[in-house]
Symmetry: D2
Subunit: 187 residues, 4 copies
């Protein structure tokens, strides 16, 4: 089983990237193959309907679709901008949604967030569910939000809070179980 991991941030020292590095480590320990993507790999222009009609999807959006479809599931870790989804991530979702047949249909998605605030970016994730579910993706109910993200990681990249690390493990295990069940049933 393979998962595509994507942090929806272009920032070099993104805490969402750090969260996914830890998640990747925990997933590999469970025998999951990881495709760790960089948001910059899926560089796309701001959505433009006329451009879309004339030229179809930009290279970055096609690349994202290919990588997503080569995996059994997708994990997005995203910052929260103004209590909502980053425009950058929404822009990628919008471009991808313009392909036929709908690339998001039946894709299994786990959402995570990391933020220096006490809320941990959770409000943004609820706004991220909507376009994904509107496009037919299956977004896992349980989501992981990391609060106080600047002080959460030890030098070795693990959480200093042991119970939090267990919560992350449980979230990932739950998602793997969900994806495996759907896959086993040929869904």
């Amino acid at each position: 089983m393979k998962l595509l991991l994507l942090a929806a941030s272009l920032r070099k020292d993104s805490v969402n990237k750090k969260l996914l590095v830890l998640a990747a480590q925990l997933l590999k320990a469970q025998g999951i193959a990881i495709d760790m993507a960089d948001f910059a790999e899926f560089d796309v222009p701001l959505y433009h309907g006329d451009l879309n009609a004339e030229l179809g999807l930009p290279h970055g959006a096609k690349q994202f679709i290919a990588r997503m479809h080569a995996a059994d599931g997708l994990i997005i870790a995203s910052p929260e901008y103004n209590f909502s989804i980053p425009g950058t991530l929404k822009n990628l979702i919008d471009w991808v949604s313009r392909e036929q047949p709908m690339p998001w249909l039946k894709q299994r998605v786990l959402l995570m967030s990391a933020s220096p605030s006490l809320v941990g970016g959770n409000r943004g994730l609820w706004h991220t569910r909507v376009p994904l579910e509107a496009c037919g993706a299956i977004v896992y109910s349980d989501m992981f939000s990391l609060a106080s993200a600047y002080t959460a990681f030890a030098a070795d990249g693990q959480f200093t809070d042991v119970s939090l690390q267990q919560r992350l493990k449980d979230n990932l295990t739950g998602f793997i179980h969900f994806v495996k069940a759907l896959k086993a049933a040929g869904y």
Copy 2:
């Protein structure tokens, strides 16, 4: 396979009830057993934390849990009140969420709405997803919203619009397929 069907309306001539009667007919034709519930059967008081702490769940909430857990999935058809979830439905969700272990966890839910308006109650459904998913329910991505509900039904309870009836069939078939896949995989 058995599904619990619930129209979140106390109104005698509810268009959401009519929608579920049609859905039940289409489901039975596919060999699905139907438990058609009436919202009044799950009568509960307005949520009161002290009452809850002292007396636990009211009878109506316990009944709902029992009926939901006796089925393989749940279909809720709900009106939209003020662009959002009816307080009545939210109140039932709130009561049910106070039981341990969480009764909503892993429950498979399909949401529908019927409304005389042109929007068909769809905005309300997006607000209905949130508490259900927050409680761990698996809410099917595709939702069915019936617009212009006062003129949509023929005398025999079918939709006058053939393509709309096909859309309803497809939605139900998709949900059945999803529930069966999760069930087959022991999820």
Copy 3:
């Protein structure tokens, strides 16, 4: 200037009530008259369309409208249930919205929340804005969410955290200023 204050909780030891008691004290110090309401005063049945058509609004809903219209603005402090608006509060909003002309139109509303969690109930407030704004209320942009509410209050009812108390004062002052501006302009 007079404000109606309502904690959307029936619980005797509600932290939302404690929050409003402190808010009332700070408002009185600024010369604002306070009408402190108890949620139980606006007791209404679960919304029922047929009942509404036959009998109009229940006594509790009419009482709420009268109290709201006798004030220059409304402050609601509400718990968050399952990341969303309590069904109880939504049920009152729904009943009130059935009067003609729409009682919520142009009402100035400040939303607050208190919760033992680290998120402070803020997600629920965003779901509370929607039906109010859909009904034409003017909901103040800035909202106050009290996290860790079980440990936030000193014995005298003030916040132990001085900067948090200042933030509450600023929020209230901002709202008063907003209401006064609209009132002065005859809006």
Copy 4:
């Protein structure tokens, strides 16, 4: 009194632009000065935290702030992408929100949408309110959503449906009244 009008679409034949052209005409008839902006004028890259930290705001975001602050209010007409806010518009909101002091604070905003669908893009507007209100903007409660937008306009740019045109006029008049009230009170 002057209003900035912005259609959040890069499409040449955007129905949102057509809607704003009609709105501008109705506003001018009421003596309002119009600054009609083109979304391409506020061209900004995808948000990048490191770029922001190093270089501040891009030219397009600064231009938008200057134009918004030179007006008494802002009208945004926006398409709905996947039941939510366009990534492009959210990206501009995100960039603008990174300036100090917060440029959105107390800005008066009216939201509109136009869409070929029967829902008229209204779901997207509710997701557009959130970041704006989170940033302190005052978003007018009443919003205008134009359904069936491809067939709504006559050759002269007016709506063929007279009552719909009246509804648009009323919405604009209501917003003007609101902005004037706040302005008169020095808010």
